[in-house]
């Protein structure tokens, strides 16, 4: 579980926060409200998750409840991996 979050956090920090070590990104911070991810970022993130976790993500799944925080993403990916 922690590994999924760790991988996602690293990707988000590396790609949207330029790899900053001093950035604080908590597990429930909203990517959208904080402007971390926009429409372009969402697609990059989707591509990354598909490749890294070998899962297929449908457009219908790309909703805030699945994609807006680290916790939401982790829950979503875990569920997909169990299927």
């Amino acid at each position: 579980m922690d590994d999924i979050k760790k991988v996602l956090k690293k990707f988000i920090i590396d790609n949207y926060l330029l790899g900053s070590q001093d950035v604080r990104l908590s597990d429930d911070d909203s990517f959208l409200e904080q402007g971390i991810i926009d429409s372009i970022g969402v697609i990059e993130l989707t591509n990354f998750i598909q490749d890294r976790f070998n899962i297929k993500i449908n457009v219908t799944d790309i909703i805030p409840e699945n994609f807006d925080t680290l916790n939401n993403l982790e829950r979503y990916i875990t569920k997909k991996l169990k299927r």
């Binding site: 590396d14 949207y16 926060l17 330029l18 790899g19 900053s20 950035v23 959208l32 409200e33 904080q34 402007g35 971390i36 926009d38 429409s39 372009i40 970022g41 969402v42 697609i43 990059e44 591509n47 457009v59 219908t60 799944d61 790309i62 909703i63 805030p64 994609f67 807006d68």
Partner: protein, 330 residues
């Protein structure tokens, strides 16, 4: 000020770090142009496949957000001449379009033989937004890394006005002339779930409505649009998957009767507001709002580092900045 020795990112850009050799963290993690070339081909093929699959049921295949600048003029020609699409071109008039740009627009749409519409929101509403954008913090800081407060407001309105239009007219694609520095190749084809779009729209809409009033709500999507998720278009950024060569682009658009307007800064070919927006952004945040985009163009070999530095050091036309200030009553 210390600047990356490979691209143009300055030391005061958010979250930037430099290695001992003077290269920034983004340059150090850049995977190289052969990977970029492979991805470009992959996404171009993907777009061409989508075109075959998604036939328009209406009068148009694509709505092109057409600012009248060199890149969107070129993109208009790509969709028309390379792909033979039925186009509706759409220009959002923010009140700062040079007279020459209006002529450029007319020349291009007539020579390419495409339908076109202008949309000009009430200037008093836009004025409130632009004035507030200069003095207030409307959006999350993260958004300010890629564009000025004024540009973010204006582009937000362009994007949602265009989206509304595409849904209402059942147009399956919306095309933009964003450079590869603005839209990376992996995001050159965007299909986003409407529920996600709604959350993204809120980030832009909420502060705009707060500043300019409830009247602004009409410029955004409403429940009627969100009730038609199957009508949401796919966004296409062709300059991310095609070769981006500014000289070739200029040569092409000149053949369409396009002439560069005077009085603009080096980062815009269609908007007087840009110089003022850049200066305000630089004053507030200490870095140029185009620096992230230009750094990406330099990294990808689309622009020389010298040219990149020239563009971010350019302060724009003083007379134009004064004219904008007068018009915004600042």
């Amino acid at each position: 000020m210390k600047i990356c020795k490979s691209c143009v990112l300055p030391v005061n850009f958010p979250h930037i770090t430099f290695a001992s050799d003077g290269a920034c963290n983004l340059c150090r993690s850049y995977k190289g142009s052969s990977e970029a070339g492979r991805l470009k081909k992959e996404y171009k093929d993907k777009f061409e496949l989508l075109l075959k699959k998604i036939a328009s049921k209406g009068a148009y295949d694509i709505l092109v957000c057409y600012s009248g600048g060199k890149d969107s003029t070129y993109v208009l020609s790509v969709f028309k001449e390379m792909y033979g699409l039925k186009i509706l071109a759409f220009t959002f008039d923010n009140g700062f379009i040079p007279e020459r740009t209006f002529i450029n627009i007319r020349n291009a749409i007539e020579r390419l033989d495409v339908d076109h519409i202008f949309f000009k929101p009430r200037f008093n509403l836009l004025k409130k937004i632009f004035r507030e954008a200069v003095k207030g913090f409307l959006y999350p800081m993260k958004a300010m890394e890629r564009a000025s407060l004024i540009c973010t407001s204006c582009i937000g309105l362009v994007k949602y006005t265009a989206l509304k239009l595409a849904i209402e007219k059942e147009i399956p694609f919306v095309g933009f002339g964003w450079s590869p520095g603005q839209a990376p190749v992996t995001s050159s084809i965007l299909k986003i779930n409407p529920r996600m779009v709604k959350s993204m729209e809120d980030v832009i809409k909420r502060p705009i409505v707060e500043v300019a009033g409830k009247e602004m709500e009409g410029y955004f999507l409403n429940e009627r649009h969100y009730s038609k998720p199957d009508k949401f278009p796919i966004y296409i950024h062709p300059l991310a998957f095609l070769k981006y060569d500014e000289k070739a682009i200029l040569n092409k658009v000149k053949k369409l009767g396009w002439i560069e307007p005077r009085g603009l800064d080096l980062n815009s070919t269609n908007c007087y507001l840009n110089s003022f927006a850049n200066a305000a952004h630089k004053r507030r945040y200490g870095f140029h709002p185009y620096v992230f985009e230009i750094a990406a163009l330099v990294r990808e070999g689309c622009m020389s580092r010298e040219e990149g530095l020239r563009r971010i050091r350019n302060t724009g036309d003083r007379k134009t900045i004064e004219m904008v200030k007068r018009r915004l009553a600042i």
